[in-house]
Every structure is written in C-alpha cells, then in structure tokens.
C-alpha cells in the first residue's frame, strides 16, 4: 500500500473515531432543540425539523441556570486560585532540590493522586463538619477540590520548572536579585505557559466537579451546575429536551474555552513551555 493510501485510511479511521466520540455531544444539542413528540419518534430524526429555541430561554428562567453557572464559576476559580498559589511554590521546590526527602515528598504527592474522590468524600465531610466548614459549603468544596487537584498541578508544573535552566537563575542572582527576586522575575515568567495550561486544565476539571459539591452543598442556591443538572433528573423524567438544553448551556463555556486555547494547551503540555 502506498504512503498516500495509508494516510487516507488513517485519516478515515481518525474521523470515524472522532465521530463516535463527538456523537453524544451532537445528540445533546439536537435533542435540546426537539419538541416533546419529536424526541420520542421512531426512528429518531437526526436533524430537528422545527428547532425549539425557546427551550433554552425556558430552562434558563425556570431552573435558574445563571445561578448554577455562577456557583460553578466561583468554585472553579476559587480552586484554581488556591492550587496555583500554593502549588507553584511547592512545584518549584520539588524541581530545584534533589535529595531523598524530595523523592519521598514526590511519592506521597503521587499517592494522593491515586485516591478517588468518592473514597475521600466521607472522611473529608466528617472532618469539615468538625471544623464547622460546612457552614460555608462553597469554601469547603473549594478546599476539597484544591486538595484533589494539587498533585496533578504540582507534577505538571514541576516538570515545567525543571525545563528552566538553573543557570538563568544563577545569572539573576549575580545580576542583583535575591532568591525570591530571581524566582519572581526570571523563573516565573519562563514557566508562565506551563502554569497557565495546568491552571486551565484544573479549572475545567473543577468546573465539572460533582462528588464533593453534591455531598457538601445542601442549599440549592449554592449548588454548582453539575449538581443542578443532576437534581433535574428524577426516576420518571421525560423532559429530555430541557435537560439537554441545561447540559448544553453548562458545557458550552468550557467547550468554548478549550477550543480557544486548544493550541496553547497542547503545545504547553508537550513542549515544556520554553522557547
């Protein structure tokens, strides 16, 4: 088989897989635009004959989607801010020093990554209620998500810092910086891309977080969109178009963010952010 034919075949396979992968997304949007009867028609139509755009306005109003999205945003931004602030310093130290204690620390951090949220939620819940943190449930969720996302962030950003040559920092010291100054003015700008990419990945993760939010936030007006979407669905739900409209409004912003920053994210993850 010639080179071109193999490339075409691989392209076809790739497109097929992408179609399979993206089909649920397509089905979400199509369903949200269908009317009640079109939704349950057999065979199902793959394109709504009469798009019901008013579904979106109706769901936005009746389910208070704006409030849910706002809560998701607060939680995601809070978690990202906390992780970035604490994780950057931690990753830097782990990148610059080499000894047994650092290796042990790194191992423990990776171990934290292994524990699933559904396992951690009970001890965290008990601990937080002892500290009275459940009185501010969104803060509690921010803390829990930050703890969960921290290892991932530290490991990614550590490798970014390791790609910044130590000689640059030493040059900074000789040129008149303090240790902190060299970190802030030389190392940090060079690691910016890696930190940004890791922060965006954590933002998207936190924006969709469900387990901690569901178990710690009882008040509906403080719940994020993931929990709001879940409470929309009961055992006898049949308003799938409304649910899909909610879902579309929920994933829309994340999807847009990813598409906009896609190139940057990929290059930041693969190149180590320097040059």
């Amino acid at each position: 088989m010639s080179e071109t034919w193999r490339n075409r075949l691989l392209l076809a396979v790739a497109l097929g897989l992408a179609a399979v992968y993206l089909f649920p997304l397509y089905w979400m949007v199509v369903t949200s635009l269908k009317s009640g009867s079109a939704m349950f028609a057999t065979p199902p139509s793959f394109w709504p004959s009469e798009p019901q755009w008013q579904t979106y306005a109706y769901v936005w109003q009746s389910r208070d989607v704006g409030r849910y999205l706002w809560n998701s945003l607060v939680i995601a931004l809070g978690a990202v801010a906390l992780v970035t602030l604490l994780g950057t310093g931690c990753a830097y130290v782990l990148a610059r020093y080499r000894n047994v204690w650092i290796d042990i620390g790194l191992f423990l951090i990776l171990m934290l990554q292994v524990l699933p949220a559904s396992l951690m939620v009970t001890p965290i819940f008990v601990g937080f209620s002892q500290f009275g943190l459940l009185a501010t449930p969104r803060l509690a969720v921010i803390l829990a998500i930050a703890a969960k996302a921290m290892p991932f962030f530290v490991v990614l950003v550590r490798s970014t810092f390791m790609s910044v040559p130590a000689e640059l920092e030493e040059a900074g010291l000789v040129d008149g910086n303090s240790r902190l100054g060299a970190f802030l003015f030389i190392v940090l700008p060079l690691a910016r891309n890696g930190i940004l990419v890791s922060a965006i990945l954590i933002f998207m993760q936190a924006f969709g977080e469900f387990v901690y939010s569901k178990s710690m936030i009882q008040a509906a007006e403080l719940q994020p969109a993931s929990v709001g979407l879940n409470s929309f669905m009961g055992p006898n739900t049949n308003e799938w178009n409304n649910i899909m409209a909610f879902a579309a409004m929920y994933v829309g912003p994340i999807l847009a963010l990813f598409v906009l920053l896609q190139r940057r994210i990929v290059s930041g993850l693969t190149s180590g952010a320097l040059k």
Binding site: P165, E167, L168, E170, A171, G172, L173, V174, D175, G176, N177, S178, G181, I186, P189, L190, L274, K275
Partner: protein
C-alpha cells in the same frame, strides 16, 4: 599590586566529597587569571564560590578587601559570564543588558544610554530589539559579555565562555575578551579546560587537579619550569613526552629507550642527580631536534635513534609519532620527506630536559 580577590585556606565539601582542598590564591587588581585543569578538578566550583553561588565550608574570601565569605551573590558586586550564556529568553538584548543596572536602581534613561554604549563596543548595535533565540552563538556570547561589562563590577568571572563556539570564532573571541579586559582595566577570573586559552589570555595561570592547586604562575613560567609531572603534561601542546630514565652522573641520564642512549641535562639549582637515581625525563615534542648530515644514524652521547610510525602534516607543522608504538611525539616546522619505518636520530638541548620523580611526580 594590591589583591582584588584573596582566598585563604578555602575548602568546599559536598557531603563526603572534598571538592576544594586548602585553596590559597591571591588575585591582583587588574590581572587576568585563568583557572585551568581537567574536568572535575574543582575550577568551576572555585569560580562559583567566588560568585557566591556555592557556599565554601571553611576558609575565608575577601573581594577588594571586604569580607565576602558568606555574602549573597547580589552583594558581592561581581559579574559572571556563564558557559550557556544564561541570557534571559523572555527579554530582548537591550533588556538583558540593562537588567543588572535596573536591579541596582539605575534610572531607565541612564541604563538605556549605557546599553547603547556597551552595544557599540561589543558589536551589538543593530541587535538591541532582538530576542536571544534570534541570535547566533557568537552574538549571544557578546550579549553575555555586554551584560557583564555594563556595570563596573569588582571582578569578572568567566565560566568556560567559549566552549560552545566553533574553533574559528573561539580564537577571535579569545582576543576580544582579552582586549575588553585591558580596555576596562578589570580584574578577570577565567575558567577553562583548554590550556591554550589559559596560556594565551591570562597573566597568571592556576593549574588545578582534584581540588588542589598544582602550580600557579605566569604562563611561560609554567611552560618553562613545571613543578610536577601533571603540570608538565597539561601545559603545552602536543603534550610532553615522558621517558623513564636513570642518573649516570650529576649531569647526564640514560633514557630507557633502545640502545640506552645517554643525554646531558643541566641543573638550575636543583639537587644534583645521583648515579642510578630513577627519574622520568620530560621532553617537549617541539624541543626534540632531528640530527641530519654528519652523525645521523648514530646512537650515543646526546643522540638517540627511533623509527617513524606516523606522519601528520598541517602544512606549516609536521607531527611525527616515533618509537615502537609511536609513544614519542615530535613537532617540526616545515615539511619532512619521511616515510613510516625510516629511522631518525634525535638530540635535545640539555637545558630543555625536565626531570621528575617517578613516585611523587615532583620536579627533581
């Protein structure tokens, strides 16, 4: 001459590893000092200790008379050129140049004027708005130099700055660095593993090995009178030939070569040789003379004959490898009509024979 940098009994340990052993070194104001030695000899550690990037574990360091032993780098008022140049990749050439000034509170306008000035004499004038990644190796080297000279530090430290350049550029940058040093009247400490760089650039060469200073002095002193076998072999290119020998009387030795040839040696105040004393004779390749015409082919007093193994000619110089295994090197000006297997008769000026103790390696 006053000492600009003074090291007294400096030691550096990395855990159990003893990297610098009792270093005593005085660097005169305005001098160009080269630290030279094989890799792992401690020369870079010593330089980094001067900069404050390494903490010395014992001993004392003063710069311009001020105690600097445990002062952080930014307060030492020294400038350093790194092997990788360490240019800040996120800054333009101009920003790189003014950075040390801005860090010391020099105003933006004054710093920019100084940058223009430095760019002028380092040949960077048209490149100020470029980023380091847009420059060639030689240009990056100049930026690194410019960043060092833009303020007038108490000393310049160079850490193998030319090792990433190609051979031709290295030779021209060598001259430029030395010219810059003279122009600024600065004190420079230059680390290199290349003895030619050290010999050609420095006023004072410090040869190190295993964390110890083996010998220091003017470049030609090191060449003419190496204190031990290591320095003798390290300084000079191609490297000195070492031949086992033993004393015949106070002024001649027998070389451990076929025919046991005897050559005269002259003594300059060293202890007289004893008959039968084992020594190692050091014969520089460029000091061996080929005897032609009368007396050629004879081995005897002052002469020895060796077969030719390999002939390498660069046009101006001819490198010969002599002896059964080609162990004796010889350099001749001009060209030789020779073939492998030819036998050559050699002689050497008694004043140019170096003798070392076979055990301690010290000059005898």
């Amino acid at each position: 001459m006053t000492a600009q940098i003074e090291l007294t009994e400096v030691n550096k340990h990395y855990g159990a590893y003893h990297a610098l052993k009792n270093i005593n070194l005085s660097i005169a104001k305005g001098s160009f000092v080269a630290l030279v030695g094989p890799s792992g000899c401690g020369k870079s550690t010593l330089l980094r200790s001067l900069a404050g990037l390494e903490k010395i574990t014992a001993g004392r360091l003063t710069i311009a008379g001020d105690e600097m032993t445990s002062v952080p780098p930014r307060k030492r008022d020294i400038a350093m050129v790194f092997q990788s140049y360490a240019l800040y990749p996120h800054m333009t050439v101009e920003e790189n140049l003014v950075y040390p000034l801005r860090m010391r509170g020099v105003s933006k306008t004054e710093a920019r004027a100084r940058a223009q000035d430095v760019a002028g004499f380092t040949g960077l004038s048209g490149l100020l708005t470029r980023y380091p990644r847009q420059l060639s190796g030689g240009q990056r080297q100049r930026v690194a130099m410019g960043r060092a000279v833009i303020r007038s530090p108490k000393a310049f430290l160079f850490d193998e700055p030319l090792s990433n350049l190609d051979a031709a550029l290295r030779v021209s940058m060598r001259k430029e660095i030395r010219a810059l040093h003279d122009r600024l009247g600065a004190t420079s400490v230059y680390v290199t593993h290349d003895q030619i760089e050290a010999m050609t650039m420095a006023d004072h060469v410090v040869v190190m090995k295993d964390g110890v200073i083996e010998q220091q002095g003017a470049p030609l002193t090191l060449y003419d009178r190496p204190e031990n076998r290591f320095v003798a072999g390290f300084i000079g290119s191609p490297a000195m030939n070492f031949v086992a020998a033993h004393g015949i009387d106070s002024a001649s030795i027998a070389l451990d070569l076929p025919g046991r040839p005897q050559i005269a040696v002259s003594r300059h105040g060293e202890a007289p040789l004893k008959a039968g004393q084992a020594v190692v004779a050091g014969l520089r390749p460029e000091h061996l003379r080929i005897v032609e015409g009368e007396g050629a082919g004879q081995t005897g007093i002052g002469r020895f004959t060796l077969p030719v193994r390999l002939i390498e000619s660069t046009g101006s110089l001819t490198y010969l490898s002599l002896g059964e295994t080609g162990e004796i090197a010889l350099v001749e000006h001009g060209r030789e009509q020779l073939r492998p297997g030819d036998r050559l008769t050699l002689s050497i000026d008694p004043a140019l024979v170096h003798l070392f103790d076979p055990q301690t390696g010290r000059r005898v």
